[in-house]
């Protein structure tokens, strides 16, 4: 993969992150309730964050 494609993938990941960690997506998870005992918002933030890092690792290692 050339540098240009890689750069575009990283920019797209940044955009994805900006959407995931922003209003209104964030508001969807800002509700009472738990996921495996952990409040939904906390669980969402950490899972989405970990997924984003995994994608970054994937693009970086291509």
């Amino acid at each position: 993969m050339n540098d240009e494609t890689k750069a575009q993938r990283f920019v797209a990941l940044c955009m994805l992150g900006l959407v995931l960690f922003n209003f209104p997506i964030l508001a969807l998870f800002n509700v009472p309730g738990t996921l495996l005992g952990v409040p939904v918002l906390y669980a969402y933030l950490f899972i989405a964050w970990a997924a984003l890092i995994a994608l970054m690792a994937l693009v970086a290692n291509r």
Partner: protein, 907 residues
């Protein structure tokens, strides 16, 4: 066991260990075997981002805001996703121009202006002071609390300035200063690399992570039964339940969340210490691609237990315990002495790491970008005549380190004690965010000018000072509170916390909105209002087009003037020492294929540029420019000339692109020609083979015919019986000759495309039946049983009947030749095709021969002892015929189990 002396001893033992690591890494670096030259150490050193703020402050923030601490770590993750685009460019620029600090970078971009370098330095130093005070506060608070063990008492702010020598933070500041001086200013490195420091920082990152995870695991799984239990109990408490969906309640809500994200995106790039470890200390650009995910992973790991510890503290500890200290007080309350000490060491790691790198970065800036340009311009000091200035440079840096730490202490005394850790740190974040427009604009937009950058920095800094620093001082009682409540001189519109009436936002969001409007507005507005100078124009192109230049020609092509090599050598020797200067000159000479000092060096543009780059590594771009200008006579280039050079360069680039395109096309054409030539050669070889084979094939029967006719001619009295046998052989051989010639003619017609094809709808069942009937005499003679399976109603195919009979005859006579008394013929229908199989029970065909039996004159010769009969053309012609009608012919066989020749024809 946790008395004062024990704690102090542990702290010093830890600092000693760090020093040993640094010393070892420096020794290895000197020996040319660096320990830090890998992506893992690089990633860990980036984690200097996690300071006492993270270690103690995040829990404090979480205890009041829930997830409000997270944008500080999610923001950098998002920014790092852009590093492949942004940071790679900054790295490349910095390496090519030997940038030594953030101030140097900005100064260098805007025409190597000393004024900008100085301005950036001042903003960075003032802006970072709150951040340094935060570290002092955290370390001293953790110490004072730990000393009280087993009781848990919060230290009282005394708010006095006069008891310096009884004050813990004061001593901590001095110890840290001494430690930093020992770390960072032992000697002067031309590239500003501090490998020992980086190794120690990476180690500290491990320690603080482990300490924090240890507390997290202890609280979550020791005090409670996992995450579910902990959050369940928190939800049961009415005062905590509201925090579990916390984003609505917090001041500013989502707006505050977004601005904190943006703020920390900038902080990860422009905090002086982050710039130091990411850019200046980087040894290899390729380490970046691993750090891009490893460093965010580190941030994720150190944040997983923040909320559990915060809720654990709120549930477990009595009211009145400062949430910023939960990490320490929870183990203390549970009488976990070792864990408490580990936490203290972890917090010390976080704080010392930050202070060391930050003050080294700031002291470099103060020395290179603030003081040296001024000192060098002061003619009275006669610095230009000093033989060796390395001592002076080191002295300035050491002084700056002490001064910065004492100023940090002063800020702590003046304003820090009233604020929580995170609030203090955010003030610094907002200050360094002011660098974002001039740096990011500077590397992507050539239009940004020196005046624009100065205006942007001044405007942004002024708004920051007014909306964040003044209120902090006023709240601590050093300015009248009326300033905040009613505005200066009672003008409500100018209230620092609600400028121009903008209210309802939290303090940071408010300050960021106004400062960014002022900053970016001034940058763009002023940049566009006046044309740049020649120097600015050329630096803009050096920065923005960095990926299109070679490092050596980057700046050299703009220089015109006269200089002397010994003068340049002396300047270098003064600032980087004579050993460094010699090394540098030798390297330069070697790159030109010369030997120095034996050969004389031409003091041309390239040498001047080389010397300036070397000097910039020690002094910063602005000072290096002043020094070089003092020994060379330079002819200033006009803006027109610079433009011309740039245009010329872009023309050259364009031409070379076109040239590359042409040469690529040429290569493609050459490859094609070569391919055609190879095919022709191959055909030529085949033709030769063909001719020689056919001659051979013709000669064999001719020879035997000639031999037998000669016998008959010379011996008229041959017995009747013998004569009949000889004549039989002669007839047979002539038949073979005729067949061979017919086949050759047939083949040449087919191959040249002159064969006549009479296409019609053919019933293959008839073809098979006719052929078998035609050959029945042969089968009977050789005692072969033939089994034919012709299913009713198979589809007809488009083909030539005579040709199909020719193919079948060929396959059957072939089978008859090799079989051992049995032939099976089967007709079947496949998807869209009719299939004919001719199976014999002969010796079979060797796998190696299976591929070649269809070639001209190729026979599976080793299947029989003698050469088999036939021309070796039959199968080849049959396959040509089948393929002509869009079908396929192949053979399947295992030696000893007969062979099966099959072909298909499309229906």
């Amino acid at each position: 066991m946790l008395q004062g002396p024990v704690i102090i001893l542990a702290a010093f033992a830890y600092l000693g260990l760090l020093f040993a690591i640094a010393f070892y890494a420096d020794k290895r670096a000197d020996a040319g075997r660096p320990v830090i030259a890998n992506a893992y150490v690089y990633s860990l050193s980036l984690a200097v981002y996690a300071t006492a703020w993270t270690f103690y402050g995040s829990v404090g923030r979480a205890a009041s805001d829930g997830v409000g601490f997270l944008p500080i770590y999610i923001g950098p993750t998002l920014m790092i996703a852009l590093w492949w685009v942004v940071m790679r460019k900054i790295l490349r620029i910095s390496k090519q121009n030997r940038i030594t600090s953030l101030a140097d970078f900005v100064a260098s971009r805007y025409g190597k202006s000393a004024a900008i370098g100085g301005l950036v330095t001042v903003i960075a130093v003032i802006g970072i002071l709150p951040y340094i005070s935060l570290q002092l506060k955290a370390v001293s608070a953790s110490f004072e609390i730990l000393v009280q063990y087993p009781s848990i008492t919060m230290p009282e702010p005394d708010g006095t300035l006069h008891i310096f020598f009884n004050d813990t933070p004061f001593w901590i500041a001095l110890i840290l200063a001494a430690f930093t001086i020992a770390f960072g200013t032992r000697h002067l490195d031309a590239a500003e690399h501090h490998q020992g420091m980086v190794a120690a920082i990476a180690f500290e990152s491990l320690v603080k992570l482990l300490a924090f995870l240890a507390v997290g695991v202890f609280v979550t799984f020791g005090l409670y039964n996992g995450f579910g239990d902990l959050f369940g109990r928190a939800a049961a408490e009415p005062r905590l339940a509201a925090m579990l969906t916390p984003l609505e309640g917090v001041a500013g809500g989502y707006a505050s969340w977004v601005w904190l994200t943006i703020l920390s995106m900038m902080a990860i790039m422009f905090l002086p210490r982050q710039f130091q470890v990411t850019v200046i200390e980087n040894l290899d650009e390729r380490h970046l691609s691993k750090a891009i995910w490893l460093f965010p992973l580190y941030m994720l790991a150190i944040n997983v237990f923040v909320l559990p510890i915060a809720f654990g503290g709120l549930l477990h500890l009595p009211a009145g315990v400062d949430a910023d200290t939960f990490v320490l007080t929870l183990p203390m309350a549970e009488k976990q002495e070792a864990l408490a000490l580990l936490v203290f060491i972890g917090g010390l790691s976080a704080a010392t790491g930050m202070v060391i790198v930050e003050t080294i970065a700031l002291s470099t800036m103060v020395c290179n970008d603030l003081l040296m340009p001024v000192l060098l311009r002061m003619k009275r000091l006669r610095l230009n005549e000093q033989p060796d200035l390395t001592g002076l440079l080191l002295g300035i840096r050491r002084g700056a380190i002490v001064l910065i730490l004492l100023l940090g202490y002063l800020y702590f005394k003046l304003a820090g004690e009233a604020y929580a850790l995170v609030s203090i740190g955010l003030i610094s974040f907002a200050a360094v965010a002011q660098f974002a427009p001039v740096v990011l604009g500077g590397i992507f937009w050539k239009g940004g000018t020196r005046r624009g950058a100065i205006a942007a920095l001044l405007a942004g800094f002024a708004v920051w000072f007014y909306t964040l620093l003044l209120p902090a001082l006023a709240r601590s009682g050093w300015l009248p509170l009326g300033l905040l409540e009613h505005g200066p001189f009672g003008i409500e519109l100018l209230k620092p916390l609600a400028l121009f009436g903008l209210s309802g936002l939290d303090q940071i969001t408010h300050a960021m909105i106004w400062s960014m409007i002022a900053n970016i507005g001034a940058y763009v507005g002023v940049s566009l209002s006046a044309a740049p100078s020649a120097e600015e124009h050329r630096q803009a192109s050096v920065f923005v087009d960095v990926f299109r230049q070679s490092p050596e020609t980057g700046g050299a092509r703009f220089w015109r003037g006269t200089a002397s090599a010994p003068d340049l050598y002396n300047v270098l020797a003064r600032f980087i020492g004579s050993a460094g200067a010699e090394e540098s000159f030798r390297e330069y000479a070697a790159s030109r294929g010369l030997r120095w000092p034996q050969d004389r060096l031409e003091a041309d543009a390239a040498l001047v540029h080389h010397a300036e780059r070397q000097l910039a590594g020690a002094l910063g771009a602005a000072s290096a420019r002043v020094m070089i200008a003092s020994v060379v006579k330079e002819e200033a280039l006009s803006i027109g000339e610079v433009r011309e050079i740039l245009d010329e360069a872009s023309q050259v680039v364009l031409y070379s692109h076109r040239l590359e395109q042409k040469s690529r096309e040429l290569e493609a054409a050459t490859a094609e020609l070569r391919g055609a030539n190879e095919r022709l050669t191959e055909l030529d070889r085949l033709k030769d083979d063909f001719v020689s084979t056919i001659t051979h094939e013709l000669r064999t029967p001719l020879t035997s015919i000639r031999a037998f006719t000669q016998i008959l001619l010379e011996n008229p009295d041959v017995e009747q019986e013998q004569r009949a046998r000889f004549l039989g052989i002669i007839t047979k051989e002539t038949e073979r000759l005729t067949r061979l010639i017919n086949q050759v003619l047939d083949l040449s017609r087919i191959e040249s495309g002159r064969a006549e094809w009479h296409e019609s709808s053919v019933d293959m069942r008839e073809v098979v039946a006719d052929t078998v009937t035609g050959m029945s005499r042969v089968f009977e003679e050789r005692n072969i049983s033939v089994e034919v399976s012709l299913p009713e109603g198979v589809q007809r195919v488009k083909a030539d009947v005579d040709r199909m009979i020719q193919v079948m005859l060929n396959l059957l006579s072939n089978a008859a030749k090799f079989c051992r008394g049995r032939i099976e013929i089967a007709l079947s229908e496949q998807a869209g095709a009719l299939r004919v199989d001719v199976r014999d029970n002969g010796p079979g065909i060797d796998p190696a021969d299976q591929k070649v039996v269809f070639d001209k004159f190729r026979q599976a010769s080793d299947s029989l002892a003698a050469k088999p009969q036939g021309s070796g053309l039959g199968l080849h012609i049959s396959r040509q015929i089948v393929e002509h009608f869009g079908g396929r012919m192949w053979v399947e066989s295992a030696p000893g189990h007969g062979a099966c020749f099959s072909f298909t024809l499309p229906t």
